[in-house]
């Protein structure tokens, strides 16, 4: 796979504090990478350096498109995009597209098309000053993608949106993912789970875990089974008598996926059916991984 971005030893130091400390990772073409970490872990600082807003203290950032200004190949959406309130959406888009190098008659139609894509098709002639937070977020996405960048950097692209808006924007990002490399920070882990080829976990500026979602998931508990009971006593009895390691928690029993296959489990449960209401496969959620990774000493 072609590499779009290679980062090595990226460090940013502010007054002796390392906000970003020795990051090394690379992004493959047309992949989506989630940058995950608690508040203050250096996500925004990292994205700002990649976008060319901040200069790193040390380390290198290499883009595949050598030679030209890397900023022309990047689309950037800050967490709270700020626009000139006196401009209309279409005026802003034309300015953004023009500054990123789009020229000619196609600019207007490209801007209109992009506004339509983010759901602002009817708001093009309205002043941005009157936009709601959600509309600004959409316009932010539109300005980031209008010049068809090969790398899209998004800082918390959906945190400020309501559930419906979040859904829509995630769908848009998935659609863009087919033709663009995306690196986005988020703390909404359900979203990351949905659209991620690679995870980067940041804590206090350090990259403490990285890899494809599947690998990380296996590393932190993999998948397993959960058996639900109609009362806690039945659950405890089941866990105590089961031939493999089983953990009762209230009226649920969790069994590691490595210990037993589904077939064996079902056979065993068939012999001890008392109180069972539900048997299912569970895979460890990103949220649990997040807690484990972040709280790991």
């Amino acid at each position: 796979m072609n590499t779009v971005l290679e980062v090595s030893g990226l460090t940013k130091q502010y007054d002796g504090i390392r906000a970003v400390d020795d990051l090394t990772f690379s992004l493959g073409e047309h992949t989506a990478t989630a940058l995950i970490g608690p508040n203050g872990s250096g996500k925004t600082t990292t994205l700002s350096m990649l976008a060319g807003l901040l200069r790193q203290t040390s380390g290198t950032i290499r883009f595949s498109g050598e030679g030209k200004d890397p900023r022309s190949a990047i689309g950037f959406l800050p967490q709270y995009p700020k626009f000139f309130p006196w401009m209309t959406a279409i005026e802003y888009m034309e300015l953004a597209a023009g500054l990123s190098g789009l020229e000619g008659r196609s600019v207007r139609s490209a801007c209109e098309k992009t506004l339509g894509f983010v759901g602002l098709g009817d708001a093009g002639k309205k002043r941005i000053g009157g936009f709601s937070g959600g509309m600004k977020q959409r316009l932010g996405l539109a300005q980031a993608i209008v010049h068809r960048p090969s790398l899209l950097l998004l800082d918390e692209p959906v945190s400020a949106l309501d559930p419906a808006g979040r859904r829509e924007v995630m769908e848009m990002l998935k659609e863009l993912g087919g033709s663009t490399t995306i690196l986005y920070s988020t703390h909404i882990l359900n979203d990351a789970e949905e659209m991620t080829d690679q995870l980067l976990f940041l804590r206090s500026g350090k990259l403490i875990e990285q890899g494809p979602l599947r690998e990380v998931r296996e590393k932190y508990g993999g998948s397993g089974y959960r058996v639900l009971f109609n009362n806690p006593e039945a659950a405890e009895r089941f866990a105590a008598s089961a031939p493999w390691a089983a953990r009762a928690d209230g009226s649920a029993v969790t069994i590691s996926g490595e210990a037993v296959s589904m077939e064996e489990l079902l056979r065993y449960a068939g012999g001890h059916p008392a109180g069972i209401t539900n048997i299912g496969r569970v895979s460890v959620r990103l949220e649990d991984i997040f807690m484990k990774v972040v709280e790991r000493p």
Binding site: T44, S48, A51, G52, L53, L54, R55, K68, D69, R71, S72, I74, F76, P78, Q79, Y80, P81, K82, F83, F84, W86, M87, E91, L95, A96, G98, L99, S100, G101, E103, G140, Q143, D155
Partner: protein
Amino acid sequence: MKQFSLLLGKELREQARSFKLFWVPLVFIFFGALEPLTYHFLPQILESVGNLPEGAEFMLPEMTGADVYASLTGQYQTIGLLVLVLAFMGSLSGERKSGTGTLLYVRPISYSTYYLSKWTAAVLLAFASLWLGYGMAATYIVQLYETVPGFTDVALFLLVMAAWLIFVVTLTLTASAALPTGGAAGAALGILFIGMMIDSLVGTYWTWSPWKLQGYGLMYLTGSPESGDLAGALGVTALITVLLILFGIRQARKNAAKAKV
């Protein structure tokens, strides 16, 4: 060039929509009209508002057109400069603070284009204000006063004033590139007014300084300035202006990192 015209278009549109395009020239026009009218009608004004004792008489000096221009220039040197500095003090710093600049800085713009687009828009507005203001004054002066300076002399005077205003605008924009808005206003106004004070107190010891430009310019209205002094002052002003522009571009680039993300 494409980027320059886009950014200049943005600046001019901003001037129009934030009404700077109207209120800055209006202040100049207002004083341009007020000054000649006030001096012309001063005797009548005193008579109608002043509870002067019976028989009191003022000897008012006979004002010439040149005197009115000089007095108006004094007004512009305080209120005019204040208005220009206030209008442009946030030109760069405001975009950093609000975060609107962030989405410009992540695009492949050059900071010289960015700075110079703002500079051009600001200089255009300053010129428009200057010429509309003095144009308004000239209209009244020609009709109300007996001795008036010739057209060429006034034009030469305005050219010198234009050089001074370019200096003022450049200083303001560079301050805005280097400092937050409040500091920028303080620095620009401080340098302008302290410079004026120094020049009026001990300025006899030198002849080449931006602060002497308006004085030299006014000499065109009554005679002509010492050409060597004027050329020297213009040269020094041009040099400082160019250095300020270069410094401003560097600061704009350096401070882009301070833009709110």
